[in-house]
Amino acid sequence: MRQAGKTSGSNPAATWAWSAVIVAASITGGLLAAAVGHVDWVTALGVSAVIGGGVALLAVPLGWAAQVPPSLPPGPAQRAPGREGSPGAVGGPPGQIHRRPDPPGRALEPGKRAGPDGVVRVMPLAVEAPAGAEWWQKTGAPVARHKGTERETAPPLSSYLDSAIVVQCPRCGSFRADVRQGPAEWSFGCQECGNRWAWHPGTPWPSVAVRPRLRGENRPPPRHGGRP
């Protein structure tokens, strides 16, 4: 049983006052019962005092139990903005969050990007390699997740944003391009304007000019490669 001095928000004086009220009410009821039922008033007084006292003693610890010690962590409702138990919830339980660092200029801060129901629940790709069984070996009904039971299956994305490139033709801006990976460079061919260019990893992507009118000119004949 917790001690009164360790609770938060309790008022011992009020608690004891309520106990006294309960005992008095019990005795009064006992006396009234004695008057109606022609029972010895000493017996009625004794029984009611014992019952009232017992109820009052029970009420005191129950009242304390209802208090929330300040040392406990906040409950689910306070764990905003992530959803309780969500593996990737921002602000969720420790050990279940694998959030890569926010890149410059990104605006996915939990407080600012909360959804209409207060939820920000983007589940980022895992970048760590927790030890433990593979997910497909955990058969049966859903169970609670435990820290350290996950597996890294996502590709390494630590430098994801720094290297993010969507192939776009520098000449006409089209996204329709053939891609070939060479030993030291990537070769591209625009399917719209026929432009061909190469890119070496680590070098800047060529600046893109969107010229839709160039599309359709010099378009190379379609190549029907075999299925991989």
């Binding site: 959803r83 138990g85 969500s86 593996p87 990737g88 890569r100 990104r106 605006a107 996915l108 990007r113 959804g115 209409p116 129901d117 939820v119 920000v120 629940r121 983007v122 589940m123 980022p124 790709l125 895992a126 593979e134 997910w135 497909w136 955990k138 058969t139 009904a141 859903p142 169970v143 609670a144 997740r145 996950e150 597996r151 299956t153 996502a154 590709p155 390494p156 994305l157 994801y160 944003l161 290297s163 993010a164 490139i165 969507v166 192939v167 996204f175 329709r176 053939d178 891609v179 070939r180 990976q181 399917q191 990893p201 379609p222 190549r223 029907h224 490669g225 075999g226 299925r227 991989p228």
Partner: protein, 282 residues
């Protein structure tokens, strides 16, 4: 089984696996490549989901967690493999809640409308057509399975995860971690919530318009890789059968979530049926 309706309390999870192998550059209908058609149909169904989730004052509710994994050419990490197809503000994330998805398209462009023939419309874009290298379908299922499993563990009362695989080729990375493609499909569909096992649907795109099948009940007569993809596809649960029937697509009992030699219209219908599991706002 499969009767839990989607709500904010019990959101759903839809994961798309998008083939980004080299063969997706083959020309398809409407002067598109397969990659362009697949990306367009995917963008369309994502827009539909956002519209479906939009309630009063234009607020989009958290009805779904959405994942899109491309397999084949990895435009970001480079080389062959699997990576999230999200871009822009969602770059690098595996599952995105519907409100975040709605707020973060990578672009709003004029695109040809599938529903309106040759007409173009301004529409949000989340997925770009990209292709190259081979077809690591097993790895895609392994990655999707990790996130579907985690999601199911955290949403035990929800409708189970739905995984929709869009491909035009043969798997090139089996066996992987001791399992061939059917083994990976079995692993994937062993994931479950209290409402049922995860659902795996497959659609095989092809410029060849012969022998098209939509939600078939048998693989009889299908050329490769039709029989294998049919076998690993889940049977359509009753709510989706009702949705298909409501959309005018006849579905026989025992139909699988599978389409073969699909054209763009079939892909669009397939995605709508596979993602429509009934939203119930509470």
């Amino acid at each position: 089984m499969y009767d839990q309706r989607i709500s904010r309390k019990h959101p759903g999870c839809i994961i798309f696996l998008l083939d980004r192998s080299d063969s997706m550059k083959r020309p398809w209908e409407g002067n598109r490549t397969l990659a362009e058609g697949a990306a367009q149909a995917l963008n369309d169904v994502l827009r539909e989901l956002c519209i479906e989730g939009r309630k009063e004052r234009g607020v989009v509710y958290h009805y779904f967690d959405i994942g899109i994994f491309g397999y084949g050419l990895r435009p970001i990490a480079g080389g062959e493999g699997v990576e999230s197809a999200f871009g822009g503000n969602l770059t690098g994330y595996a599952l995105a809640p519907l409100p975040e998805l709605n707020d973060n398209p990578i672009a709003v462009r004029e695109v040809p409308s599938i529903d309106l023939g040759g007409t173009t419309v301004m529409a949000p874009v989340w997925v770009e057509p990209i292709y190259g290298l081979r077809t690591p379908m097993c790895e895609a299922m392994a990655v999707a399975g990790q996130y579907a499993f985690d999601w199911a563990q955290s949403n035990t009362d929800s409708f189970p995860p739905v995984i929709i695989n869009i491909t035009d080729g043969w798997v090139t990375d089996e066996p992987l971690d001791g399992a061939s493609l059917p083994g990976w499909a079995q692993r994937l569909t062993s994931i479950e919530t209290k409402d049922g096992h995860a659902l795996l649907f497959n659609i095989f795109l092809s410029p060849d318009q012969g022998d098209q099948r939509m939600l078939p009940t048998t693989d009889s007569g299908l050329p490769d890789p039709g029989p294998q993809l049919f076998q690993i596809s889940s049977a359509l649960p009753q709510p989706m059968i009702a949705n298909a029937s409501g959309a005018g697509i006849p579905v026989e009992p025992g139909a699988r979530g599978f389409a073969f030699n699909a054209n763009l219209r079939m892909l669009s219908d397939f995605l709508k049926i596979g993602t429509n599991v009934g939203v119930h706002d509470i």
